[in-house]
């Protein structure tokens, strides 16, 4: 079940998504960007923002933004709300099945606005 990774080394546009306060600390939201569903998480302390695909390859539903976030041995991760597989927020790698990976996106916060990099 290997997912192809969207490689976005060269960001050409930064798409404005929402205000930072639209994402409650330590939860996620889903954004619709150029027809793609992107799950964006805000992790505290430190206001780190991560973005991965919203599609859960295990349940085949678009739900990852609704998972519980936390860490496994210090790696920030989200657990799918359906069958509870965990995904690293850093790399999109599924931590419970080496063969599965979801895409990651570049994100940044400018003047309290969350932006996702697309290319």
């Amino acid at each position: 079940m290997i997912q192809t990774l969207t490689v976005r080394e060269n960001v050409t546009t930064w798409v404005d998504v929402c205000h930072l306060s639209d994402i409650l600390p330590n939860t996620g939201v889903c954004a619709l960007i150029e027809g793609e569903q992107v799950a964006i998480f805000r992790i505290e302390p430190g206001t780190d923002i991560y973005a991965i695909g919203n599609y859960d390859p295990f349940s085949k539903a678009y739900v990852l933004s609704r998972g519980i976030v936390g860490d496994r041995n210090g790696i920030p991760k989200v657990a799918s709300p359906i069958y509870k597989q965990n995904f690293s927020l850093l790399t999109g790698q599924c931590l419970d099945d080496e063969t599965v990976k979801v895409p990651t996106y570049k994100v940044r916060v400018v003047d309290d606005r969350v932006q996702v990099g697309m290319g």
Binding site: D22, T27, V63, I68, V69, Y83
Partner: protein
């Protein structure tokens, strides 16, 4: 250093994988280039638990290969590629994809294929076999167009396939050539008990039937014909008439094979070419094929020992004992099950009321157990097998070993794990002995069953030995003076009970404070919801308060149950199951307006399915306006208090069970607990509300009420136990308050009352002392905590729709008002349901 030699393993099934794992464990990958060909489109998976696929397990769940294992150890694997030729002269193998590899040694682990008898029509569309994940996918897709299904073959695998057909919703039949089911494992008496149990489940059983033809019309199967002139209409057929070894490569390159197939091996698992080994279901040892995984694993171990130049070992045959749960019926057969040893004696008990059959085969002098058969209840299997394998002298009245535990008495005073010799085999699937397990526990200071499994592999096959492994772990830990730890997860070095206590005495009200003071890291999906539940059952703040939101699983976050496609279900509370015509109309209208699928639940209320996140608040606004409240179907909380109509209408009722059920449901609604809580009230001893299958159940008597506690249905049904008899309503509520808070304070995470009760030392007597006699002097405190919770109850949905801040969350996209575009529905029986993947691709391509 000499150059590494090439070892080609053909077949990456259960045994092929086991062999590679053993080679790695023995460090032999240092001396060998390990190359393996895997015909299937995925690496080895757990075929033994293949049927779990229908219970929702994914291919990933079933995989046996620890991620990274092959890569890290330099094993070259060709997935989806089959070896088509072995050239013994050039010492090369050639694959279907055209890969050629030189070999020094070969291990054949090609397994077997399902045998399909040469019946007319055997290859028509609608016929299947049951061996691979692809077989199951094809079966379940085809079953959608069928009403009836037949399995040909009533052996172990046939019954498993029948279970699958039944779960796919088909009217299911089993056709067996022999006069009884499972002819290899059990005798006639056991067979007839098994048959009646299976018939009770609504399956058709047809024995002594030989199929002669499968008849199709317009490419669809219509019926099958039997040699005796009878016929059986059906829409699809699954063949499970035995297995045949895959020896085609062996034949191609001229190795010796058996008369009826199978690659001939010696005690070293070598074939007629000493450079080629064969292991698993393709191998024939002393004219015998072993169709179970354990003997295959033993062979894998033998070859790994030889090729790693480790301790010499040999394969000298294997035990074919099995324990299985087929269609929910336990079946076990072990040792000399048919009493073939000269002079063997038998003791058998056939209980046609409870549907159990147990037979012991004893040695001529009655001192040793040689084998046996268990049907309907195989709980004694582990113990009995130990008697056989270790030749332990039987107690004076061996039949005692067969009797079920009687009320108030502990179960068979069989042998504790302490009394087993170190050589006793505990896990037969992976051939792990007691000594190995105990050493692993001691040396690695293991403290939980998952680590013992990981470390020793015991318990990772059929799972049948896990209770014994657990007992061993407990006894080892006790010996070492270690208290049995049950840390919540990697973030908290405390059990749920300890955390709960600390949280209350330190008056901690948020997760952040708790993890800062008592834990580490940022938490996870295990500790966060557990802590949320503890906070709720102590302080009772709204679960969507900003500080709690991040702790909630999606069900609690959106106050609804997530479904497979990411939509949610809506379950309003219907206290006691009583509902007015007006309320029914509102539910109907709301369902129509929002296009929801409706169903009466098993909990006496109505579930509305298929609500999108953005629809949830709109739906609930309508429901709240009509007087409905949250039913907490999404929470680990009080679910329903079912009722029967009781004395108000029923001619036998002795008390008003409906009124009491409503009162109780309203009192405890919203109560958060370690696991869900269910209750019921029956109006008389006929028990139509099934109160004895509930966490707390109440049954009316002439003089008042009987209170039963700690029962449940579900995966492991257990009857509730009587806590107090003939009490009045006030006393009943007092006891309930105490009982519930005591449970909430002391149970483990996700531990239902029955499981909690089973661990309670002193059992019901102790519980009576605490709850009725207040032996711990805590009852006033327990009642006060419940009083606080009852007073501070609020309907979570009402509070949510009244808060614009909370409402903001209910949208699929943060930057768009569009709903989730991936949702697709089709119509079935006049209502919608989620489209399957196949249907989706059709809809999308149109």
């Amino acid at each position: 250093m000499t150059a590494k030699k090439n070892l080609v393993v053909i077949g990456n099934g259960m045994v092929g994988h086991k062999f590679l794992e053993q080679m790695i464990a023995k460090g032999a990958n240092q001396n060998w280039n390990l190359i393996t060909f895997c015909e299937e489109p995925r690496v080895a998976y757990d075929r033994v638990n293949l049927s779990g696929f229908f219970a929702g397990k994914t291919a990933a769940d079933l995989s046996l290969v620890e991620p990274g294992l092959y890569q890290e150890n330099g094993i070259q694997i060709y997935i989806g590629d089959r070896v088509v030729e072995i050239n013994r002269e050039d010492k090369t193998v050639l694959s279907a994809n055209g890969v050629t590899v030189n070999y020094d040694k070969i291990v054949l682990a090609t397994g077997s294929y399902p045998f399909v008898p040469p019946i007319k029509g055997k290859d028509v569309p609608g016929t299947f076999v049951y061996r691979t994940i692809e077989d199951l996918e094809a079966m379940s897709a085809y079953a959608k167009t069928c009403k009836t299904g037949v399995v040909i073959g009533g052996g172990l695998l046939g019954l498993e396939a029948a279970n699958a057909l039944k779960n796919l919703g088909l009217d299911t039949h089993v056709v067996e050539f022999a006069p009884r089911l499972m002819p290899v494992q059990i005798d006639d008496a056991g067979g007839s008990i098994l048959r009646s149990k299976i018939e009770e489940l609504g399956l058709g059983v047809h024995t002594s039937k030989s199929t002669t033809e499968i008849v199709s019309e317009n490419d669809k199967i219509v019926k099958m014909l039997f040699a005796d002139g009878s016929e059986l209409p059906t829409d699809m057929i699954v063949f499970s008439a035995g297995i045949r070894p895959r020896d085609e490569l062996a034949k191609q390159c001229g190795l010796a094979v058996g008369e009826r197939g199978g690659i001939v091996i010696n005690e070293s698992c070598q074939t007629s070419d000493s450079n080629i080994y064969a292991i698993g279901e393709c191998a024939l040892y002393q004219n015998r094929i072993y169709g179970l995984v354990a003997p295959g694993y033993t062979m894998a171990g033998v070859v790994a020992d030889i090729l790693s130049e480790g301790t010499p070992s040999s394969f000298t045959g294997a035990d074919m004992s099995t324990k299985l749960k087929l269609l929910g019926v336990d079946v076990a057969s072990f040792g000399d099950n048919f009493g073939k040893t000269p002079g063997a004696k038998e003791i058998a008990i056939a209980d046609t009321i409870n549907g159990t059959y147990k037979k012991l085969v004893l040695s001529a002098d009655g001192k040793l157990l040689l084998g046996g058969i268990l049907v309907g209840d195989a709980s004694a299997y582990g113990t009995l097998l130990q008697f056989v394998q270790n030749q332990i002298t039987l107690p004076p009245y061996p039949e005692d070993l067969l009797l079920p535990p009687r009320e108030g008495k502990p179960s068979t005073p069989a042998m504790g794990v302490e009394n087993l010799p170190d050589t006793a085999q505990i896990c037969s699937c992976n051939n792990v002995s007691k000594g190995q397990i105990c050493n692993a526990i001691r040396e690695n200071q293991l403290v939980d069953v998952p680590s013992v499994k990981k470390c020793t592999k015991a318990g990772t096959g059929c799972g049948g030995c896990v209770p014994l492994v657990t007992d061993l772990l407990k006894s080892e830990m006790k010996k070492a003076g270690i208290e049995v730890k049950n840390h919540l997860c990697e973030h908290f070095p405390h059990s749920r009970q300890e955390l709960y206590h600390l949280l209350r005495v330190n008056r901690i009200k948020t997760f952040d404070e708790l993890i800062q003071k008592l834990g580490k890291g940022t938490g996870c999906e295990i500790c966060k919801p557990a802590v949320a539940s503890m906070l709720a059952s102590t302080w009772n703040e709204h679960v969507l308060e900003t500080s709690h939101v991040k702790l909630q699983d999606t069900n609690d976050y959106f106050l609804a149950n997530i479904q497979k496609d990411g939509t949610y279900s809506v379950v309003p509370r219907v206290p006691g199951g009583e509902i007015t015509p007006e309320q029914l109309i509102v539910l109907g209208e709301v369902a129509k307006e929002f296009g929801l699928y409706t169903k009466i639940t098993g909990g006496q209320r109505i579930d509305l399915f298929g609500a999108r996140v953005d629809q949830l608040p709109l739906i609930w606004r309508r429901l709240v306006d009509a007087g409905f409240e949250s039913g907490h179907a999404y929470g680990k909380a009080l679910r329903t208090v079912k009722s029967c109509v009781g004395s108000t209408w029923c001619r036998f009722g002795v008390q008003d069970s409906t009124s009491l059920a409503i009162e109780i449901e309203l009192r405890y609604r919203g109560l958060r607990s370690p696991h869900k809580l269910k209750s019921a009230v029956s109006g008389c001893t006929r028990e139509c509300a099934e109160a004895q299958g509930k966490d707390f159940g109440i049954i009316a008597t002439e003089n008042g009420w009987n209170l039963y506690v700690c029962g449940n249905g579900g995966m492991k049904p257990q009857h509730a136990v009587l806590l107090a008899a003939d009490i009045d309503k006030e006393t009943l509520i007092k006891y309930l308050d105490r009982f519930l808070v005591f449970y909430i304070r002391t149970a483990d995470r996700l531990e239902r009352t029955a499981t909690w009760f089973n661990k309670l030392e002193g059992g019901i007597e102790y519980l009576k002392q605490v709850i009725v006699e207040d032996s711990l002097g805590i009852c006033a405190e327990l009642e006060a905590q419940m009083e606080h919770l009852v007073k501070t109850y609020q309907c979570e949905w009402k509070a949510t729709i009244e808060s614009p801040e909370k409402m903001k969350r209910f949208r699929h996209f943060v930057n768009s008002d569009k709903p989730d575009p991936s949702l697709v529905y089709v119509e079935e029986r006049g209502q919608k349901r989620p489209a399957t993947e196949a249907e989706k691709s059709l809809v999308i391509s149109q």
